[in-house]
Amino acid sequence: MIEIKDLHKSYKMGSNSLHVLKGINFTAEAGELVAIMGSSGSGKSTLLNILGMLDGADSGEYILDGVPIKDLTETKAAQYRNKFLGFVFQSFNLINYKSALENVALPLYYQKVARKERQEKALNYLDRVGLKEWATHLPSELSGGQKQRVAIARAMAAEPKVLLADEPTGALDSTTSYEVMDLIQKINDEGNTILVVTHEEDIAHMCKRIVHLKDGVIVEDKKIKQVRAEQYV
C-alpha cells in the first residue's frame, strides 16, 4: 500500500541545514496498523507530513497504492489527499462553527458528492463512531474524546486508502485514549490501513507493528502482538 525508498528531507534554518530524514525505507501492506514512534525531533512528524502530502521530500521515492507521488502541484496534492488519505490530528482540527455532521461531510463536499448522499454518508459514519445523536452539535459542545471520534469519522468518510493519525490520543486522558484506540482498532479490523504517530508505549502496543525512528533513520521495525484496547474501556 505504502512504499518508501531512501527518503531524505532537510530544513533550512538560516545558513544551517537541518537534516531531518536521512534515508527512510519503509513498506506498509494493506490492512496494517503501524505505530511510528520516536522522541521529539526524531523526524516522525516530518515523515507523516510527507506521507500525507502536506510536505514534499527532497529525494527518494514514495509510492501510494501503486501511484508514484512526486512533483505535486498544490491542486494535485489536494486531489490525492482527498482521494487517498484520511487525517486525524492531535488537536482534532474540527471546524468550530460547523456541526459534527457538517464536519464529517466536508471531505465528501470536496469529492463533489451530492448533498443528500453526503448527509446520509456522514450520518452513517457518525453512527459508526457512536455519535449519531450528536450530529447537530457544535464541536464546542463535545468532549475531547467525542471530538476525536468525530475527526475519525471525518477521516473515514472519504473512504481513504490510508488513515494517518498524528498523536491521536495526545490531548486525551488515558480512558478516553483507549476508547479512541478501540475505535481505531475496529476500523483496522475492517481492513483499513492505518499509521499512528505516537510517543506513548501503551498506545503503540495497541498497533500491530512498531517502527522506531531516531535521528532521522529507522532504528527498529518489529511486528508485535496487538493489545486490544477494548479490555480497558
Partner: protein
Amino acid sequence: MWLFDKDLWVEIFHTLGKNMFRTFLTMLGVIFAMIILILLLGSANGMSNGFDKVFAGTASNSLFVWGQSTSEPYKGFERGRRIRYKIEDAEILKKQIPEIEVLAPRIELGSHRETVTVYREGRTSGSSVYGDYPEIDNITKKKLVEGRFLNKTDIEDSKKICVIGEETYKLLFDKSENAVGKDIRINGVFFTVVGVYKPNNNINIDGENAVFIPFTTFQKAFNTGDRMGWMAIAVEPNTKVPVVENKIKKILKTKYDIHPDDERAIGSFDMSEIFNNISAFTGVLKGFSFFVGIFTLLAGVIAISNILLITVKERTKEIGVRRALGATPRTVKRQIVVEAIVLTAFAGLIGFAISVGILAILNSLWGSGEDFPFVNPMVSIPQFGISFLLMVSLSVLIGLIPANKAVKVRPIEALREE
C-alpha cells in the same frame, strides 16, 4: 457551472452567517459608501429635474431682440440714434430666415421697464402693458388661473380685451372676485379681462404685474402705428441660436443703417445660453457625484478586503484543515472571492435601499421645487446598474488579495499554527 452550485452558496452563507457581527461590521463601509453615492447622484438628479421644472414652459431654443441706441456714427447718422423697429420687420425676418419657427412681435406702453397706471373702480396698479401676438405663448408659456390667453380672432378683430397677471389682479380686484368679464382702464381706454395668469415658477421674463393686449388693439388704442418694440423668436430645434441671432442682426443693421461693428444698437438675449450653462452645471455636478461616490465605494470595498484579510489570517487553520481534507487552492480562492462579492453586493443593496428611502423622504419634504430647485431626487436604473456593476467588479479584484493570501499558506504551516 459552479456559480449555480447550491453547496457553494450553502458553504458561503454558512461561513458568513456564523459570524454575523463581523459580517455586519465588514459591510458597514460599503453600506455607507453606497448611501453616499446614491444620495449624491439622486440629489444631482433632483437638482437637474428642478431646473427643468423651473424652465418648463420657456422654449430653450429662443432669443429676444429689441432696439437700443447706436454707438457708432454711420452713413451720416450721428451716434446715439434710437433704433425703432417696424412691424414689417417681423415678416421680413420670417421670410429671409427659414430657421425661425415662431416670431412674436411685441410692443410696450411707455419705455422699457417703466410702468403704466391701470385703473379700475378707484383702484390703481402700476403695471407693464404689452401688445402681443398669441404666438408669444409658444415661447414663454403662461399658466392661466382663470379664463384664456389671447387668440387669433382677438388680433383679427382688434378686440378690446386683455389678460392680466396675478399681481395686477391682486391690486385691482378683491380677493376671490371674478376678474373675467370685468373692465379695466388704461390711458382712458377700457379693456375687458379675459384671463388671469400665474407666472411660470422661477423664470419670469414678463413679471406678474403685467397686462397683455392684442397687438392690433394696442396699435389702435394707443396710436402706435407700425412701431414694434421687440421680438420673441423661437428657433428650429436643430439650429443653434447664435447663428440665427447673427442673421437677424445683419438684416436689421442693413435695414436701419447701423454700422456693421455697432454692438450696442441691437439688444438681444439668447435664452439657450442659460440652458446650456445650466445643463453644463448639472452635468458637472452629476459627474462629480459619481466620481466622489465611486471612490467612497472603492474605500468601502477595500475595507471589506481588509477585513477578509484579517479573517483569512484568523481562519488559517480552518483553511489548512480544508486543504488537508482535499480543498484545492481554486476552491479555497473561489470561496473567499465569492464571500467578498456576496458581502459587497448585499451591503450595496442594503445601502441602496436605505438611500432610496432617504431620497423619498427628501422628495416629500422639498420635492415640489417651490422654493428650491429640487424635484424628484432619484437615481436612474442605468446609474444604479453601473454603480452596482462597478462595485461588484471591484470586489472581485480586491477579494483576490485575501484569496491569494489564503492559498499561499501551505497546509502544513496552517495546521501547525495553534
